[in-house]
């Protein structure tokens, strides 16, 4: 009697056996895909593509709404580094030294110093009927800027929605943030006052520390950054003249770095020189309002929840597709086992088919995201009240999602194949 050994019955070794199963599984899977109904294949790939988009785009847009606000905050208000006066001080001491030092750093591209003064803006005072009537007014921060420097750092001129940007020699001309005007922010409550009937060319009065000056609105800004949109901008020379500041000590200094430069490095350099004792030095990330960070986390979570639901739906879809496929081909699975094809090879053929659908769906999804959606949303941001929403899809995060989708797809392909392959060979062949 022959002795039963693995060598006589089962081929040489498990490794070779596994390699053979992979080879045969691939052989079967590829031919199944190649000769499957093209419309069925396209439908499955379409489902996978939509699932992938759901995984990436939904959370990407949710996060992108906040990311748009973060980007705007950095681009139009804080720059890469913002230096502001200490809480107990009215201005940044040694501002000129700081500005000079910043200009000497090779990583610094532009610097803008701002002079900030609290005050109010008054409109429609000429139409007041009685002297006792309260005129249309709103509290505001008035920022004195060098139009050229400020624009170099924050590109503020690009946020103009009406009128023209300030020129260096402008006098009695201002830019007004849209949050101060009823036309653009139709809210008027005791805590948020806005001015009616103010547009480019309108005469308004600025009340700055008791000094009243009639000026002309030269432009209106809307950046969707509250700090910018609730301010009034005029040339620094005029503001300093109005408030009698002669020391050149600014209230805010914003810095734009060259591409790739590290804001923390600049902050550390300033700190090492002791400027942190004279001013509050923050990178744009540190200066982000906490609510933005919280919202970003919340939207990220929401996106992940929606993405997970999408992933579960996709897994179930793949499961059903593979299960129906395997059930309808139960007889052939039985035949394959009958002619000696081992279960691993048959299961692998189904896993590979699922893998193929997942890979193709993801690849098309990647193409749509990086070839169309991301550039499209970058060029045409979603007009959200507090931000211009973009699509956030960083390659690393997207690849993680591809991995998750592939894993879910492979599991969803494996389980039904396993269920069908485990059935009795003869029952499968005879359809019992």
């Amino acid at each position: 009697m022959r002795k039963i050994t693995h060598q006589t019955v089962v081929r040489e070794n498990d490794f070779l056996r596994m390699l053979t199963s992979i080879r045969v599984g691939t052989f079967l899977a590829w031919r199944d895909i190649k000769r499957a109904n093209i419309w069925t294949t396209l439908l499955i790939i379409f489902v996978m593509t939509v699932t992938f988009l759901n995984l990436v785009v939904v959370s990407g847009i949710l996060v992108g709404l906040i990311e748009g606000a973060v980007v705007a905050q950095k681009e139009h208000y804080t720059g890469d580094v913002i230096i502001s006066h200490l809480r107990q001080k009215n201005y940044i001491e040694q501002s000129t030294d700081i500005v000079r030092y910043l200009h000497s750093l090779p990583s610094v591209q532009d610097v803008s110093a701002r002079y900030i003064q609290g005050g109010s803006i008054e409109a429609n005072y000429k139409t007041k009927v009685r002297a006792s009537d309260i005129t249309d007014n709103a509290p505001a921060l008035i920022a004195g800027i060098s139009p050229f420097d400020e624009n170099s750092v924050t590109g503020i001129s690009h946020t103009l929605i009406d009128g023209k940007y300030l020129d260096e020699g402008d006098y009695d001309k201002i830019l007004v943030g849209a949050s101060l005007l009823y036309k653009y922010t139709p809210v008027d409550t005791p805590s948020l006052r806005t001015l009616e009937n103010v547009e480019v060319g309108s005469k308004v009065r600025l009340n700055i520390g008791g000094f009243v000056r009639e000026v002309t609105v030269k432009g209106i800004l809307k950046s969707k950054v509250s700090e910018v949109d609730s301010r009034i901008f005029m040339t620094d020379t005029q503001l300093r003249g109005l408030i009698g500041r002669t020391d050149l000590n600014a209230d805010e200094i914003v810095v734009k770095l060259k591409p790739g430069a590290d804001p923390s490095y600049v902050k550390n350099q300033l700190t090492n020189l002791g400027y942190a004792n004279l001013a509050k030095i923050q990178t744009s990330e540190e200066a982000q309002p906490k609510f933005l960070k919280d919202m970003k986390d919340t939207f990220n979570l929401l996106g992940n929840v929606i993405g997970t639901i999408g992933l579960v739906v996709a897994s179930i879809t793949i499961f059903i597709i593979i299960f129906v496929n395997a059930i309808t081909r139960r007889k052939y699975i039985g035949i394959m086992k009958g002619i000696g094809i081992d279960s691993d090879a048959i299961e692998l053929s189904y896993i590979m088919q699922a893998f193929f659908y997942g890979i193709f769906g993801s690849a098309i999804g990647l193409g749509i995201i990086f070839g169309f959606l991301k550039p499209y949303f970058a060029a045409n941001p979603i007009n959200f009240p507090f931000s211009d929403g973009i699509l956030v899809a960083d390659p690393m995060g997207v690849m993680v999602r591809v991995g998750v989708l592939m894993l879910a797809t492979v599991i969803a392909g494996f389980i039904p194949a396993k269920i069908v392959v485990r059935q009795n060979t003869l029952d499968a062949i005879l359809g019992r």
Partner: protein
């Protein structure tokens, strides 16, 4: 080549037990062509399923090429089917998404042969059954007789020790049936051991020995025309 002792198989349908094989004792010599015949429901296909290791008997012993098969695990039985046993099904049982040559190649590939070698062997097997011109046809593009010949080519492609055929002519016309039986006779002449189940007495008579099954036991053993 095959020794069967006291083979019993009972199917359970609900609470009812239906004995199909009631104690089969038989043997098949190496290079022999044995046909199993009998009335419908006599248990001939069930016997072939047990011999072909597609099903498990309730009791008894099947020794194939000096190996006691009752001791084999499921995976070992699959491997044994692959290495030593070829099976021709009544309804051809070809994989619809594979061409004729690919259908024949699959079990050969499973033997760890390269794709090139598998293709060469599959081509050879198909040429033995007269299908050299239909290598790349899908089963749906082949006639019943051609499909059955592909099925035979698949069963002999990896040179099995025993070829089992379950009613190989049941779905074929007379002319095609004769062609298929000619192939079996040619293979047998080359030394291939064949066990064929058929209900057609004329076809059964072409074998060396004819075993007639009746009520789950072998009721008669005859010498076939071939031996005479």
């Amino acid at each position: 080549m095959i020794i069967v002792k006291g083979l019993k198989k009972t199917y359970k349908i609900g609470s009812t037990e239906l004995p199909v094989l009631r104690g089969i004792d038989m043997h098949v010599e190496k290079g022999e062509f044995v046909s199993i015949t009998g009335r419908s429901g006599s248990g001939k296909s069930t016997l072939l399923y047990q011999l072909g290791l597609l099903d498990y008997p309730n009791s008894g012993s099947i020794i194939i090429d000096r190996m006691e098969t009752s001791e084999l695990t499921s995976s070992e039985r699959t491997s044994m089917r692959l290495i030593e046993l070829g099976y021709v099904f009544q309804d051809y049982a070809l994989l619809p998404s594979l061409t004729a040559v690919e259908n024949v190649m699959v079990p050969i590939l499973m033997l760890s042969l390269s794709k090139k070698e598998a293709h060469k062997k599959a081509k050879h097997a198909l040429s033995l059954v007269g299908l050299s011109e239909r290598l790349n046809s899908l089963p749906s593009q082949l006639s019943g007789g051609e499909q059955q010949r592909v099925s035979i080519a698949r069963a002999i492609g990896f040179e099995p020790k025993i070829l089992f055929a379950d009613e190989p002519t049941a779905n074929l016309d007379t002319e095609t049936s004769k062609m298929v039986l000619d192939i079996f006779l040619q293979l047998n002449a080359l030394g291939q051991t064949i066990v064929m189940v058929t209900h057609e007495k004329d076809y059964a008579m072409l074998a060396d020995r004819i075993l007639t099954l009746s009520d789950g036991v072998i009721s008669e053993t005859k010498i076939g025309k071939k031996k005479k």
